[in-house]
Point group: C2
Chain length 258, copies 2
């Protein structure tokens, strides 16, 4: 059974998609089998691995609503051991549509459980939208752990309490195994006072859950999606590619140490 | 009747709140009467003007659901002509709750129309969450114009089509006067190739709707919210404060030129 990791933070622009895509690619480069699932109607993770908007007609929406089995929505990427479930256009309406569905927080878990025999990956990485609505709740119910990308800024700190509160509620009511995998600082510029203050405050609450690897600001990370490639295929020498390879190694050694 | 401007972009982290708060404050510094309305459950605009989470028990949620009249939810700020409707805690559940409400896309407009006699401001600025759900739809139905903050990055460009498509649909079905006020580049670093490419592409589609004023990256803009102050009260000499004062002037001269 794969380890299912939800990459979530309701604060917008914290680095969720950049982390989901490049961590998934780095784990694939380390010979792990990885499935990336794009749960964001914006479809950024899909286009970052070569499936721009409108490219597929069946994807995450069809999987969640039971309109297509998992094997019909999984697509290959340029990395042999990385596959993706892209966001199809109908995902935009899912938040509202799910409100009237029975068991609305668990439709993703049900869809993945139904395909149990085919879950042939080491990791399933779920890229979440910037909200705590029904799509994100589905990710938290289906996941083993939550990876929280965040910037070292004030609004990012403000949002952390609401996210951990939601994780606690999902663990209590729907998914008892849900744990926090860790917190990753993104676009991290260690030179500002604000950054130092935010890191100190987060370490106080989350201690060793904070990854030692921080992702620096690196223009290659924001360029690579326009070429439909993870950064390690776009510029392996870049600081961004190195940082996500380090993050993958740190994640693997944390898991193996447990 | 005030000019109602929705600050919206479903892409997360583009600078919506920073723009809504600091443009509102800059217009107030230019002797305009301004009401800032925080429609984002994260409540970032509220805390940026001195009303952190939990500070008020009646706010935007109560206004939209008709549980409180406008005059009960308007609060003062440190600037004499800037007032705010903060986000109260219940706004977190509004997206789901509104699904079952009659006229669910127009509850904000109805609440503002009901208070027509009290609308004593020159501008009402609506800070929107990072989504195209029912809260943002309410903002677009109530608004005269939409101000679109964006970064000069690839994912930001990708999201623009979905936003303008939604604006067109709202104009056709619910709010015939809705227009695009303009596009403002935020955290804009003109030195990268990517930034130049994105600006060129956006200018091609939006021409003179793109504001000449671009907001540079400036740490004072990310520090001032932790002091509960707009940047012009935190550091008037900073590049960030100057840029938003320029933006306010540019907006005023565009409106007066029409
Ligand atoms: N380390 C980095 N260096 C430079 N640019 C980055 C870095 N990480 C992310 N970006 C860029 O910053 C923006 C925000 O990142 P991203 O889209 O991954 O965040 P997100 O949390 O997924 O956003 P959303 O809330 O919209 O889903 C994007 O334009 C991305 O390309
Ligand atoms: N010009 C700037 N210079 C430096 N930091 C900035 C600038 N503009 C915004 N920021 C910071 O970048 C982050 C994103 O900005 P902001 O929160 O205003 O965007 P948003 O679009 O409102 O995000 P969300 O989608 O979560 O509502 C915040 O931490 C903010 O403090
Ligand atoms: Mg994203
Ligand atoms: Mg915001």
């Amino acid at each position: 059974r794969p380890r299912i990791v939800a990459v979530s933070n309701q604060k917008g622009g914290e680095g969720k998609t950049t982390t989901a895509v490049n961590l998934a690619a780095s784990l694939a480069a380390a010979e792990r089998k990885v499935l990336l699932v794009d749960l964001d109607p914006q479809g950024n993770a899909s286009s970052a691995v070569g499936y721009p908007r409108g490219h597929v007609d069946k994807g995450t929406y069809e999987l969640m609503l039971g309109a297509a089995p998992l094997k019909d929505v999984v697509h290959p990427t340029e990395l042999p051991t990385l596959q993706v479930v892209p966001a199809s256009a109908d995902l935009t309406g899912a938040e509202i549509e799910l409100v009237g569905v029975h068991g609305r927080e668990s439709v993703l878990r049900v869809a993945l459980d139904r395909a149990e025999a085919e879950l042939d990956w080491d990791f399933v990485i779920l890229d979440c939208p910037p909200s705590l609505g029904l799509i994100t709740l589905n990710a938290l119910v289906a996941a083993d752990t939550v990876l929280i990308p965040m910037q070292a800024k004030y609004f990012s700190l403000e949002g952390l309490g609401a996210l951990t509160g939601t994780i606690d509620r999902v663990r209590a009511a729907l998914n008892p195994r849900l744990a926090i995998e860790g917190i990753v600082f993104c676009m991290f510029d260690r030179r500002t006072n604000l950054a130092q203050q935010v890191v100190a405050e987060v370490r106080q609450h989350f201690a060793d859950k904070v990854f030692a690897t921080a992702i620096p600001p690196n223009v290659r990370l924001s360029e690579s999606p326009s070429h439909g490639k993870p950064v390690l295929l776009y510029d392996i020498e870049s600081k961004g590619a190195r940082a996500y390879l380090d993050l993958a190694q740190e994640l693997l050694s944390r898991i193996e140490a447990r």
